[in-house]
């Protein structure tokens, strides 16, 4: 009897329960898969066990996302109902699923609908999991009371009397200082410390976690606990917060300010105050007075100050700096209020667990989320952290198999002798590679793969779990060489099998170079966690460790320089010094003259005090000044800070002058049109242009394409293949790839050359988009037996790095077969108008986030609105590196630029037989000069031929529509109503076939005119005025500090090539192509499904490496 799909979830037999859904689906026809979906849907609705429900949801996701679309009998195109899409955005996932299923029943299944159902089930699965973790965090004993407290009079916490004790009112209040190490994970646990995994598979959730002190090699004298939190009572009924690393401080006077996480850089400190129960979460929006609440804890008229310091350890170190800082902050607040009994010294086990549980709560409040091992720095030395099965007394019992909080077993010197610890320290070099990437998508992928039990991944996970015991044995035996080999094998094997994207070209190059230089003395590579390029460990023979430290810094810097255009680096790489911390988190009360905050605190706070008259200073400020002065006389650390303090107070040269000059030069070099810019600014400020104005008039008729109005190339288009192949043989085609972009979505605005970004492993190693396109074209040319010239259009942002790479890669083909077309148009970004910000946030459909993240987003938006107002709406955006201030002006200019910059003229001179271009986006990896499509296009006699694909739910931004009766490509931002997009069946791939001569005719030119630059420029300008200008908001990153980043939405202007279909004299034809050809790779989160659904294999099949 065959196994029912729900039996996989329900079975008591491990072999059945761990069966991969992919295996179950293999060979089953669509009808059977649809029946399985119905069965799973009914199952998940009646099942009460959380994890069974979630697993059913992921099964549904996988069937709709991967298996149904792979069945040839499934219709490709359908419609996603707009109402369902709205539900999805508003996180009403059940309603969305119901709406999609209704349409599936009425109109039949389709790939389009399956994409919508996959998205809804996927989101519902994660929401169910996240809700459960949150519920558990709230109901964890020791946390729950804070959610019940709603009035200051109910505040039960009281400050410890030791923190109020002082000899006279002039004596400073004692300072309570918590010093906490960070943690490293010696096994890279295969992400088994994700809450979802730990709570479902506690047996597999195991990590070897080591608390360490840290210093930056060459900067700090010796390693020390990097994380510090300071707490002191103050004689004002307010909360003062300061982060000395972020140079941010705030004085909170109302409860609302405490709960406003995104307002400043102090969200972590606020989360700590809330999670520590000083301002309990239950009191949010109660309207109560903060002073009254503080009065209950500290006495009337008093408040407290909380200061954080991470000793300039960069963000993204993969050493859980921020979670341990949160732990230290919460710990110091809990000690101060007696929730942790020990005021000073280390904590005992129940106390550490209380603080760790609050740190999880704090991370949830702050909208972030780490793994459960991250607060490991609270514990001393080396410990084994393992998932723990839920017991009848636990709130998790009956809900999940595992408990929220894991079990910590300290591995004392009896298990890991001092000698072994010393050996580890003598061989290991810890580094930060300089990249800081969002690990969120990775964690989602890992969770999903675990619940689906993908065969390879599941086997890899089992291996990773077993590896821990090997690693532990090697460490205990002091066999560091063996440890290095085991860690490398873990990285090469299980980790990369679970998530191929865990490594990148940068990491691989570093390993390769280190291996080349150190040979057998390089004992192994250790991936510290999350994504590649941040925290890493290199293990050397002890006698070469010091050399390894020095050389790695140089190797990393040189490699970073090589790749910095292609990969998102947040800072220069650093090498750490480290030492195992055997104490865990330790607190000390500092009194009298020793009651000092970190030096940097005074450096930041004192200048403002010194600028004011002494009589205007508060008693606290006077005391701080006196203390600082006294410390500066007696302590070298403080006296050394005096010059820096003077620098802050005295005027210095403008450090931005250099970048200001470079911006001006770049503008001049790239033909920036100041007059046009001023016109745009005045139009923007006056409201003549803006996001709302992008839209077509509300009376415009938007209809879907009629059947038969486009060419169906999905079934091969064999009737045109022979003619196309002949044209290829005649050398009539060139490929144009748009490579002007900086991968905003790919890197969340970090600004890398997307074309050069080594996005995935193909043909055995990491390849960039440009390399992949070149290889495809080379293969097509070889098959055609004729040259196929390839042009990459560039912009000021991408030209130099692309030229550098392409020249090196193509050798003699440079400017015979491979060409670059430099951009000839440039824009300067503007500070957006508040009107446009509001339009973007309120008038366009947006993904609603979960409750805490939504609060965070609201608060960030309020801050951004304030920024736009104070910076001046419509003002030039210049407060960033020049590359982030300039913008390309839309892909409409890409082909006209070939005219303006003479590339087309040179191309035609070299290849006069050229008739047709196929132009496509850099991330449309499947685009090729396909013979069947070429034959079709040439036979059509049209000027432009457009490739479209049946829409999936993720395909946003317009599509193919009949606009007032004319079939054209329409941009999403110009559709009068958002729902119009959902009436369209096809999505534009932006791949466009161009008849060179007919296009020239549209511009009023002929081949003979191409030599006349002025005429070309005038022709382009004339046509440009007939096309709409769109205002868009783009997120750009501003980097500062030690790996910190801010994202700003800035306004820019675009003209889009698709609008050519609106010109009556420019005849367009349209073809529907297979998804594998038209699929764009916009977002890193797509990579995994891109590989799983066969897209990656398809691209491999087009290439010849």
């Amino acid at each position: 009897m065959s196994l029912r799909v729900t039996d996989i979830i329900d079975s008591g037999d491990n072999a059945k329960r761990n069966l991969a859904i992919d295996r179950w689906c293999a060979g089953r026809p669509a009808a059977e898969l649809l029946a399985a979906c119905a069965e799973l849907d009914a199952y998940r609705r009646r099942e009460t066990n959380l994890y069974k429900r979630v697993r059913a949801l992921f099964f549904l996701t996988a069937i709709h996302r991967y298996h149904l679309p792979a069945r040839p009998e499934l219709p490709r195109s359908g419609r996603v109902p707009f109402a369902g899409f709205r539900h999805l955005l508003e996180r009403r996932f059940e309603e969305a699923i119901a709406a999609f299923l209704r349409v599936q029943t009425d109109q039949g299944p389709s790939e389009t609908l399956s994409s919508a159902l996959a998205a809804a089930h996927h989101a519902l699965a994660f929401q169910t999991l996240a809700d459960q973790v949150r519920r558990t965090v709230r109901s964890t004993r020791g946390n729950a009371w804070m959610f019940r407290l709603g009035h200051p009079l109910d505040q039960p916490l009281r400050v410890r009397p030791e923190l109020l004790a002082r000899d006279t009112p002039e004596t400073p209040h004692p300072v309570l200082r918590e010093r906490t190490p960070v943690r490293m994970d010696l096994t890279h646990c295969g992400w088994s410390d994700i809450f979802f995994l730990g709570m479902d598979f506690p047996e597999g959730a195991r990590v070897l976690n080591i608390s360490i002190d840290l210093g930056v090699h060459g900067r700090d004298a010796a390693p020390r606990p990097p994380v510090e939190a300071f707490f002191r009572v103050i004689d004002e009924p307010v909360i003062r917060l300061a982060s000395v690393d972020l140079e941010a401080s705030a004085c909170l006077t109302t409860l609302d300010e405490v709960f406003d996480f995104g307002r400043d850089y102090l969200g972590l400190l606020k989360a700590a105050i809330i999670a520590a129960g000083l301002v309990p979460p239950g009191i949010e929006r109660s309207g109560a007075s903060l002073a009254e609440l503080l009065g209950a804890i500290f006495g009337p008229g008093r408040g407290f100050e909380l200061v954080s310091n991470v000793n300039r350890i960069p963000k993204g170190s993969r050493l859980a700096v921020s979670t341990n800082l949160l732990g230290a902050l919460i710990g110091v607040c809990m000690r101060a209020t007696g929730q942790v009994r020990s005021l000073t010294g280390a904590m005992d086990e129940p106390e550490r667990r209380s603080v760790a549980a609050r740190a999880i709560l704090g991370e949830w409040l702050g909208g972030s989320g780490g793994g459960w091992q991250d607060s490991g720095g609270l514990w001393p030395g080396i410990k084994l952290i393992e998932g723990a099965p839920a017991q009848p007394d636990d709130p998790e019992y009956g809900v999940s198999r595992g408990r929220l909080l894991p079990r910590h077993t300290l591995l004392g010197h009896d298990r890991i002798p001092a000698e072994a610890r010393r050996k580890l320290q003598d061989s290991l070099v810890l580094v930060h590679g300089g990249m800081a990437q969002n690990v969120g998508p990775i964690l989602e992928m890992v969770t999903e793969k675990y619940l689906l039990r993908g065969e390879a991944e599941w086997a890899a996970r089992q291996r990773a779990v077993a590896t821990l015991d090997d690693i532990l044995a090697l460490l205990a035996a002091g066999d560091i060489r063996g440890l290095g080999a085991a860690l490398t094998a873990n990285f090469r094997g299980p980790l990369q099998t679970i998530i191929p994207w865990v490594t990148n070209l940068y990491t691989e190059t570093l390993i390769e170079l280190t291996r080349a230089e150190f040979g057998d003395d390089f004992w192994g590579f250790w991936m510290l966690g999350g994504m590649s390029g941040g925290g890493m460990g290199f293990i050397f023979a002890p006698e070469r460790r010091r050399e390894g430290q020095e050389r790695l810094r140089d190797i990393m810097l040189a490699t970073k320089r090589e790749f910095q255009a292609a990969l998102p680096f947040a800072m220069d790489p650093v090498v750490y010094d480290f030492a195992i911390n055997e104490d865990g988190s330790v607190a000390t009360v500092l009194t009298g003259d020793a009651a000092l905050l970190p030096v940097a605190y005074y450096q930041q706070a004192m200048p403002a005090c010194l600028r004011r008259a002494a009589r205007d200073l508060s008693a606290r400020e006077r005391r701080d000044l006196q203390q600082f002065t006294h410390a500066a006389r007696t302590q070298p650390e403080f006296s050394g800070a005096l010059p820096a303090l003077l620098d802050r107070m005295l005027p210095t040269n403008d450090t931005n002058g250099g970048s200001g000059r470079r911006l001006t030069e770049l503008l001049a070099e790239n033909g920036f049109d100041r007059a046009q810019h001023e016109q745009i600014r005045s139009d923007l400020r006056a409201g003549r242009i803006g996001l709302a104005m992008n839209r077509l008039s509300a009376t415009t008729r938007i209809e879907d394409v009629k059947p038969g109005a486009l060419f169906d190339a999905t079934s091969g288009g064999s009737e045109h293949r022979a003619a196309g192949a002949a044209a290829l043989r005649r050398g009539e085609v060139a490929v144009v790839t748009y490579a002007a972009g900086v991968g905003s979505r790919w890197t969340q605005g970090a600004g890398v050359v997307k074309g050069l970004h080594p996005f995935a492993r193909l043909g055995g190693r990491h390849r960039s988009f440009i390399e992949t396109h070149l290889v495809k074209t080379r293969r097509a040319a070889a098959e055609a037996g004729a040259a196929i010239p390839h042009v990459f259009t560039t912009s000021h942002l991408t030209h130099a790095p692309i030229e550098h790479w392409v020249r090196g890669a193509v050798g003699a083909a440079w400017e015979s077969d491979v060409w670059l077309s430099p951009g000839r148009s440039i824009g300067l970004r503007l500070v957006p108008t508040v009107r446009d910000l509001h339009f973007a946030w309120e008038e366009t459909a947006q993904q609603k986030l979960d409750e805490q993240k939504e609060k965070m987003r609201e608060s960030v938006r309020a801050a951004l609105t304030g920024w736009a107002r104070t910076s001046g709406e419509g003002a030039d955006y210049t407060d960033n590196v020049p590359e982030q201030c300039l913008h390309p002006v839309g892909h409409w200019f890409e082909l006209p630029n070939l005219l303006k910059n003479g590339t087309l003229a040179r191309l035609l001179a070299a290849h006069p037989q050229l008739r047709t271009l196929v132009a496509h986006n850099i991330d449309t990896l499947g685009a090729t000069p396909d013979a069947a499509l070429l034959g079709w296009f040439q036979a059509s006699g049209a000027t432009l031929g457009w490739e479209v694909i049946p829409k999936r739910i993720e395909d946003h931004g317009g599509g193919l529509a009949r606009v007032d009766g004319r079939l054209r490509i329409v941009e999403g931002l110009s559709l009068p109503r958002e729902e119009d997009e959902f009436a369209l069946t096809y999505y534009s791939t932006n791949t466009c076939w161009v008849d060179i001569d007919r296009l020239l005719a549209v511009f009023g030119l002929t081949r003979a005119d191409l030599a006349n630059e002025e005429r070309n420029a005038a022709a382009v300008r004339a046509l440009a005025t007939r096309l709409p200008t769109y205002v868009t908001l783009k997120d750009v990153k501003k980097r500062w500090g030690h790996g910190q980043e801010d994202v700003y939405p800035v306004a820019q202007f675009e003209k889009l090539w698709g609008d050519m279909t609106a010109l009556p004299e420019c005849r367009s034809v349209f073809a529907v192509v297979p998804r594998a050809r038209g699929q764009q790779l916009k977002d890193q989160a797509q990579l995994d499904s891109w590989q799983r659904d066969g897209s990656a294999a398809h691209i491999e099949s087009l290439c010849a490496w």
Binding site: R141, W145, R148, L157, Q339
Partner: protein, 282 residues
């Protein structure tokens, strides 16, 4: 088990005048708080009292004892060395008998006719075990009292077997260690200021004092140890305690006494008048 003796502690140097405050008892008679406490115990069958006071307070307390003065003996606690130490000072007085222990700054008002002390003594006699009176208390008040964790013994009385005792815990700790099945969320069993204890408590206090001679000696740690060593019960008495040392404690105690006595209507009427006259904030 018959209990004849009561040990009353009133040696907290910060609260030494509290038991001397004058209140009007439920019968309308002005009395010191101490007298009310002693009379409640006497009404429950206590014959001899021992008061642990600060040195020099004997005379004032003797005056405040009213008609029970002849039954009261005074012992001084030479230095403020903790609540547990104050109890230890009464060891000689108990003479090896189990005893009722009261704190001088707590008044009790029973729900019915049986006084709180009587209820407790009855339970102690029936169970033949040390027992502390407790009252379910909101978590916001936790940091004012000793609190116990345990489980219901069963039967028709709110009687609990104590498993843990913590002095003035934070709710963070209480949620983890003092959960009592059957109580409303956010409520904990907190001491009532009435205990029936055997002489083993003195042994435990001795042990703990010897272990940390320089630290103030608390009673709760000794009670916690007691719970680990023998059957030790908590009984939720039908009544309420009023801590006259808390802010507005004396006022609330007075109101509770009056509203449970024969002048209830008079006090209530005046309260209503007071409420009606209360100026509103602009």
């Amino acid at each position: 088990m018959r209990i004849r003796k009561a040990l009353v502690t009133a040696a907290n140097p910060r609260q030494r005048t509290l038991p001397l405050q004058t209140l009007v008892d439920p019968h309308g008679e002005p009395k010191s708080a101490l007298q009310i406490v002693l009379e409640e115990a006497a009404g429950a069958g206590i014959e001899e009292f021992c008061m642990v006071v600060c040195p020099g307070d004997e005379a004032a307390y003797a005056d405040a004892c009213g008609a029970l003065r002849p039954a009261v003996r005074f012992v001084t606690q030479p230095a403020a060395r903790g609540y547990g130490h104050a109890v230890l000072c009464g060891r000689e007085f108990t003479g090896g008998e189990p005893f009722l222990h009261l704190v001088g700054d707590h008044l009790h008002v029973a729900q019915g006719k049986t006084s709180c002390a009587r209820q407790l003594l009855d339970v102690a006699a029936a169970e033949n075990a040390p027992v502390s009176a407790v009252q379910p208390t909101r978590e916001s008040q936790l940091t004012s009292y000793g609190a116990v964790g345990g489980r219901l013994v069963g039967g028709d009385r709110p009687l609990y077997q104590i498993e843990a005792v913590l002095e003035k815990p934070t709710p963070t700790v209480a949620e983890q260690q003092l959960i009592v099945p059957g109580l409303r969320a956010g409520f904990y069993l907190c001491f009532f200021g009435l205990h029936v204890l055997g002489t083993e408590i003195f042994t435990l206090l001795d042990e703990q004092q010897a272990a940390a001679p320089d630290r103030p000696l608390g009673l709760s740690p000794a009670l916690h140890t007691l719970a680990g060593r023998q059957r030790y019960l908590a009984f939720a008495v039908a009544g309420r305690r009023y801590d006259i040392g808390a802010p507005y404690g004396l006022l609330l105690a007075q109101l509770a006494l009056s509203l449970s006595g024969r002048e209830r209507d008079r006090v209530l009427t005046q309260l209503v008048e007071l409420l009606a006259l209360r100026p509103t904030e602009s």
